[in-house]
Amino acid sequence: MRYRLPVLVLAAMCSGACVAQQDTQKEIERYRQLLAEGNPADLFEARGEELWKAPRGPKKASLEQCDLGLGAGVVKGAYAQLPRYFSDTDRVQDLESRLVTCRVTLQGFTPGDAVKNPFSAPGRSSDMEALASYVAAESKGMKLDAPLSHPKEVEAFRIGEQLFYRRAGPHDFACVSCHGETGRRIRLQELPKLTDPKDARKIFTTWPAYRVSQGTVRTMQHRLYDCYWQMRHPQLDYVSEASIALEVFMAKYANGGEIQAPGLKR
């Protein structure tokens, strides 16, 4: 077993370069707090609430009977307990995958149509982003408590764990390449160590979020899709089994964190 020599215990004492780094961090944090006062995600929440109640699809039904894990139509607190196993579909699902299920079963969309347009693009809004914003906001302030007891939840965790470390592609990247150490950043974007609850609890719970660089709310499905884009992988399938497995893996370390979604990010 190879041991890495510890970064000096004196890490607690900050040298010049370290202080400069912390100043950069502080300034970026201050800038973000100033922005947070008017989060455009509020507008997506409002639209999401309308969409939840709007009769849509071949069955002209609303999503108000959708079961997000706490019973049909219970939205408050549901996001705090996702992802989880659902007996009606006999699989582990996250928020977006569950919304897709309800679009099919309640509103009558075909599975193909129910997954169309998950991510908005110039000139084309996505209903999913609004719905996710609304549902997530209804868990704001609650502690994430995604279950890890059902055998399929445990299996999803183990698969997510394997995927997290899976190195591939021309850059040899895995999730761990960026998310395996504390206190690192890519360019000026801080990176959480996703297997450290200290980081995971603060960051995982800020999704979905309005992303300034994208000009829209982006969800966890988009975050994973975007990560794989950077990792020189092809397009991750929307609500694929891999995406949910990774979310279950991350949620385990983020459990206990306070949900601050929808958040605001670059």
């Binding site: 006062e37 008017g38 455009p40 409002a46 300034v212």
Partner: protein, 105 residues
Amino acid sequence: MADPMRIRASMAGDKVEVRVLMSHEMETGLRKDANGALVPAHFIQNVTVTHAGKTVLSAQWGTSISKNPFVHFRFKGGKPGEKVTISWVDNKGERRTDEAVIISG
């Protein structure tokens, strides 16, 4: 025609708090596309917000306002049920007007 603005107008104490997200590319005219050609300037130049016939906000924008501008402001004198109207005109003469009903806080 651009995407509709997302608007929310609600009471915050005795003021109306308005949040608007406009959908607009806001090109500065300095950016180059993938082929190296300059993308022509295309940005909102004027924003007017009215309530009960009065202008409550008037703005003249330039190229430093970023894509999909978000505006958040408060004004006095509005009540729930009344309308707030927001209009913009860009440098190409394109325009957009949307309105929202004030809801209680």
